[in-house]
Amino acid sequence: MTTKLMGQKVQRTEDQRFLRGQGRYVDDVHADPSTLHAAVLRSPHAHARILDIDMSDVLDVEGVHVVWTYEDLGPLSPEMAEPLPLLIPHPDLTQGRTQYALARDEVNYVGEAVAFVVAEDRYIAEDALDKIKVTWEVLPAVVGIEASRAAEHLVHDDVPGNVGARSEQNTGDVAAALARAPHRLHLELDIERSACTPLEGRGTVARWDADTNRLQVWTSTQTSTGVRAAVAVKLGLDLGQVDVITPDVGGGFGVKVMHPWPEELLVPLAARLLGRTVKFTEDRREHFISSAHERGQVQHIDVGFDDDGRIIGLDVMFWHDHGAYTPYGLIVPIITSTQLLGPYKPEVYRVVFESIYTNTVIVTPYRGAGRPQGCFAMERTMDKIAAYLGKDRTEVRAANFIQPDEFPFDQGLIFQDGRELEYDSGDYPASLVKLKKLIGWEEFPALREKMAAEGRTVGIGLACYVEGTGVGPYEGAHVHIETSGKVKVATGLTTQGQGHATVFAQLVADELGVRFEDVEVVTGDTRRMPYAVGTFASRAAVMSGSAIHLAAKRAKEKALRIAADALEVDEADLEIVDGVVQVKGSPGTRMDLGTVAVLSNPLRYAFDEASKAATQFAVGDPGKPPVAEDDEPGLEGKDFYSPQRATFASGMHAAIVETDPDTAEVTILKYAVVHDCGHLINPMIVEGQIHGGVAQGIGGALYERMAYDPSGQLLNASFMDFLMPYVTEIPDGIDIDHLETPSPLNPLGIKGAGEAGVIPVSAVVAAAIEDAEGFPITAMPISPSDLHTLRQEHTP
């Protein structure tokens, strides 16, 4: 019997390609001198009116093929002259605004696309950009949440108070709940902007095939089908004329789910016009100033609780800086407002948020997508309650946990997918026991004493979270067993390094009974699976994993039916082992899956030895049609998985940090994670996701911030100035323990794992620094100079 692969640390198939330099990222497609290259003129001002654009010198630059401003787009395609789509409308987003592919009259952030050039190479295209002369009327810029709320100036003239949306959810009368609580506290918290910053930036390649009247687009995206639909609409093409292929993607972390980027439309438009392959690859500065950021929020919290720390009323108001436009709707603040509750069940909860405009880069989900902020709010609150009551921080959390016998647990709110926020399963008390052991919670006082004797200051912190993963609406899969016995699997969502080719092959090998090495997985190619949503919200394993499992089951059912017929045995007596269909207990009666595939497709023409077995004189009952009415030729299985609601993974992190008495440098000495994503498909990959998430979380907690000046210039738009962690900033080893509470919502009992690592890190690090220093930490990230300033403020 073949070993079951689910749950095993299977080495990744895709690594072979990556390690040999044979990865295929977008900029690697058509990497030859015949490809034309695009470059974009971007606004140097955060807020300005365009008075004039003079391009008279540009076409003189040898090697320039196309120069476009907004005025040129309408004549090429009327839809291109309309604003870019507002992807996720929401009734509360009353003042949604999106930009144009190229700015029309006004720009609202430094980096907004103004003109587009295509030339023989990128060097020449950039030369041409230098020749474009724009006359600007510079307007006052609105930068930061404080300035936006003050509304002394407006980002959009027709949006009063800079408020794009105001939204409220509650589970009861919070004022009454607060009034009856024996104790009350108030917190004001602040989190700065950061960004996904994948090592590979955005990129798009397009080729128009005049012979077939079709467009091929390669783009570094998290949603091929989304880009496909957008390109078709904007270029006035039928969906069936556009293929979008997402090859290897060098990291996404959320930013590549935004679409269409202006370049994802302009490049295909140019390719169609010129009849040449056109490529755009953004540079690092462009990524900083023209893709997307996230995280910036200001939060006010009122909490009422009893003597045990049990929360009676929780009242949260926060302001979410969504930048200059709202193409991705209210997803981030909705997630903050709902996922803030974590594993807890306050008696009454009310949350109000305002999503507000600033003259800065747009905000779209970044790994964790609003959850790190929500977790920060809730966990800082828990710590403050514990400090007020003089209780252990873990006790206060335990007093508020939803208990294992309370699932499914309805939080009484509406989640980001428009469905009830109902947790499917979990065991938070068990997680806490594991975490305390892993970090050494009980032993910490002794460690602190020992360190203090050496003149060292340490602190410990923890934070808990619940993550809604695997949101719908659906994913699909197609499993095709070839006549060679090889299995080709296609699913429409994309991959950005999560090991999909491996974990999906594990699932197919298990279900179908074929060898792992005989399974090949294709993702993100609309030619192979045109119905799909995308890779975000830790949904790939849950959604495509389930769909692939179901599709493999269908292929298997068909294989067994055909084989049973051919072998003249009962289907129920058959099994598939290592790609061979055989009678259980009598493996002498057998047939290769490849042969079954041959028999599944009645042929007129024999093209090789194997296919002779399927021709019209070889098979079939002459009294029946070769393909039955309810059947189809070929050995394939296709299925879709569409869940009622999201799954809810959960976890808890803890850290011990040391703060330097002189330099205020923060060092993480020990980091521990307890993680529950239901059944694990490949623990090696899940742990890799946690490692990466924690590293990004540490970046967000200690280093990463978008340093805008008051005029809206991003002062640290390079890797030299935007500090991302190197190995030197990451603790040497993260302790991980798993808990597996299976999800009842899908056939594999799995939940998503992609974002877990990043969610609680800022809350954990803040708690540990607070514990070390003895004064409240209310703003993140925290740099040594921030900590130094706080020390000054708290020195009597």
């Binding site: 044979q22 990466g692 190995v727």
Partner: protein, 181 residues
């Protein structure tokens, strides 16, 4: 204003190739777009991330900070040149696979070339030295600890004195399950 082109020879992975380039063409762009060696990746174009690292006469160099014309008369090794002649993975590549030292794979070529050069200089690094070897390269996916493991594992695989140094790749006692290929 037509650009002056220079006909130069570049020796990459033991093969000499002739190209015609303007003087301002970066080595990274020449490798990728003129020679089609797309294994070398560009992450920042200002020498910080290390994704474009290649070996120039055996020394790690950021290909985005060097002009192609100044690489004449050098021996360049890119990630494509790290694979053994029989097509199997070199020890550093093999170690990264075993230790799950990569996720999206974009920064990986720069790590592989850097570690290859560092291990030649110091074949038996301590744990701290292994960390230092990768301290100049950015990775956004892995959180680094598996990369450090991979450096230590690569040292074992490259060491003929180590029990695994002689062992055919893929047959390491404690390696994760390898069921493919």
């Amino acid at each position: 204003m037509s650009e002056e082109l220079h006909r130069i020879r570049l020796s990459v992975n033991g093969v000499t190739r002739e190209v015609e380039l303007p003087a301002r063409r970066l080595l990274s762009d020449a490798l990728r777009h003129d020679l089609g060696l797309t294994g070398t990746h560009v992450g920042c174009e200002h020498g910080v991330c290390g994704a474009c690292t290649v070996l120039v006469d055996g020394q790690p160099v950021r290909a985005c900070l060097m002009f192609a014309v100044s690489a004449v008369d050098t021996e360049i090794t890119t990630v494509e040149g790290l694979t053994r002649e029989d097509g199997s993975l070199g020890p550093v590549q093999q170690a990264f696979a075993e230790c799950h030292g990569l996720q999206c794979g974009f920064c990986t070529p720069g790590f592989l070339t850097t570690v290859t050069a560092c291990l030649r200089e110091n074949p038996h690094p301590s744990h701290d030295e292994a960390r230092e070897m990768v301290a100049g390269n950015l990775c956004r996916c892995t959180g680094y600890q598996n990369i450090v493991k991979a450096v230590e594992r690569a040292a074992e695989l490259a060491d003929p004195q180590h029990p695994d140094g002689q062992r055919p790749v893929g047959q390491q006692p404690d390696a994760p399950v390898e069921v493919q290929r």
